[in-house]
Symmetry: C2
Subunit: 274 residues, 2 copies
């Protein structure tokens, strides 16, 4: 293969599996090329992605080293994505009454949710997490895409324990706003004790579900190293948890005037936040 | 940008959004290059992916035309994936009793499920579907990845109607094996009547859920143009539906001898099946 072909092939292969580490020898074998040429090709591929600001190629030296693509979303693309989601949320046909908004089409839109997952991946990639954890149902797509971008397993907490989950640990918790008792259930097979997890969910009002997730994970002595939610409601101001990273703030949903007050979390673009 | 850089950039950008059509002018603007050069670059990119058998670049001419990447999984990679899943399923630690197997780690593994989604995408890409439809919970990842590969919206049917889904249509149906009455509920906002859908799910025993999905979609006169499941149980032989495409057949789960009988659906590699 010629140099241009090798560079294109490297970009394609790394793009298919973000954050997966490929040893240099993988490409040497594939291309029947010397390490020195492959190293040069990787450098060229790296520069191309930098030039279009679409992903970062990282190389690590040594025995366990190799090359991987970090699906780094640029500030510009992240801002455009958040504005796009806000624009959609402002559509007053989404107003359902009782302050609820219809968001399923957004949460199940793979293109939107994949890029939102890149924002979470960028934020949490240095936390050395072992899992991405969510609770069914609407948080599953964003948690799956985040787990894919970080190359981590996804763990889904169920509302009810199912026979197909094997033995489970269950807790009762108080949902944030309605103060109802709810249940969540985690398969014992799905996690290893004393590991680290990132929690990802679609929506947070008072933080009751996230607090429940923290509690059920604490049964396995699992440490939470980050919490991300796509939309956080500004009310109630006092949440049951303090450390969380929302992409979008949802203010009032005015049923009478058919207005939805929503804004991107501008703090995410401050230094060291992304 | 130089030619090698343009080709690499095209491969990266098309890889990020599979099946998304980019007009030629998008790349002309990005590279400040003439249409003729960009056309040549695209041809070169196409040949690179063919060479490594990892995705197909398709161009369509004319006003609404452009270029897109079809995440075409090769026969070899599909066979390797199915063998990998079977190998995992044979691990007798998965046996849960009553013939149940623990499969959540597989269904929530984004790397496995993404490639399984490529198999479904390859199978169903010419069906001109408008949606990928699934029912919560464990089918969501595979349905999401399939929808991503086909660049289609995902619709998730819920077990219970939720306030956040707006007005819904619900049905009662008989689950295949246990003959229990179950409920499913579809948000009216999530679909447009008289469209086409592909059904994707993680597991099928007697086909009761899929039959229920077909029934609830028929309330909207939605036509089913394909049904894919990751694992289909060989028992009962007589299913409630006849037209489905499984990746893997699950035979007996022998609790006493701790053996799981599982095999790839070899028919998928026959001509015209994939």
């Amino acid at each position: 293969m010629k140099r241009t072909e090798r560079i294109g092939a490297i970009i394609r292969i790394l793009s298919v599996n973000p954050n997966k580490l490929y040893p240099l020898s993988y490409f040497c074998d594939l291309f029947q090329a010397a390490k020195s040429s492959v190293s040069e090709d990787i450098q060229a591929a790296k520069q191309i992605l930098e030039r279009i600001d679409n992903g970062q190629i990282e190389t690590t030296a040594g025995a366990g080293g190799g090359v991987k693509l970090i699906p780094y979303i640029s500030d510009k693309d992240a801002a455009a994505l958040l504005n796009q989601i806000c624009e959609k949320l402002r559509d007053n046909n989404r107003i359902l009454g009782s302050g609820f908004l219809y968001t399923s089409d957004i949460m199940f839109d793979s293109n939107i949710i994949k890029r939102a997952g890149e924002i979470f991946a960028r934020r949490f990639m240095d936390q050395n997490a072992d899992y991405v954890v969510t609770i069914e149902t609407k948080g599953i797509p964003i948690a799956l895409m985040t787990s894919h971008m970080l190359n981590l397993p996804l763990v889904v907490i169920r509302r009810e324990s199912k026979i197909s989950e094997g033995s489970t640990v269950s807790i009762n918790y108080i949902s944030g706003t309605s103060e109802r008792i709810q249940k969540m259930s985690l398969s014992k097979r799905s996690v290893t004790p004393r590991t680290k997890a990132i929690i990802i969910d679609d929506f947070m009002r008072a933080g009751g579900s996230v607090k429940g997730i923290i509690e059920i994970l604490s049964e396995f002595e699992i440490e939470i190293v980050g919490t991300g939610v796509v939309i956080a409601s500004t009310e109630p101001q006092k949440k049951k948890i303090s450390d969380y990273f929302p992409l979008i703030h949802l203010g009032s949903v005015d049923e009478n005037n058919r207005k939805v007050d929503v804004s991107p979390n501008s703090l995410i673009f401050c230094k060291n936040n992304l």
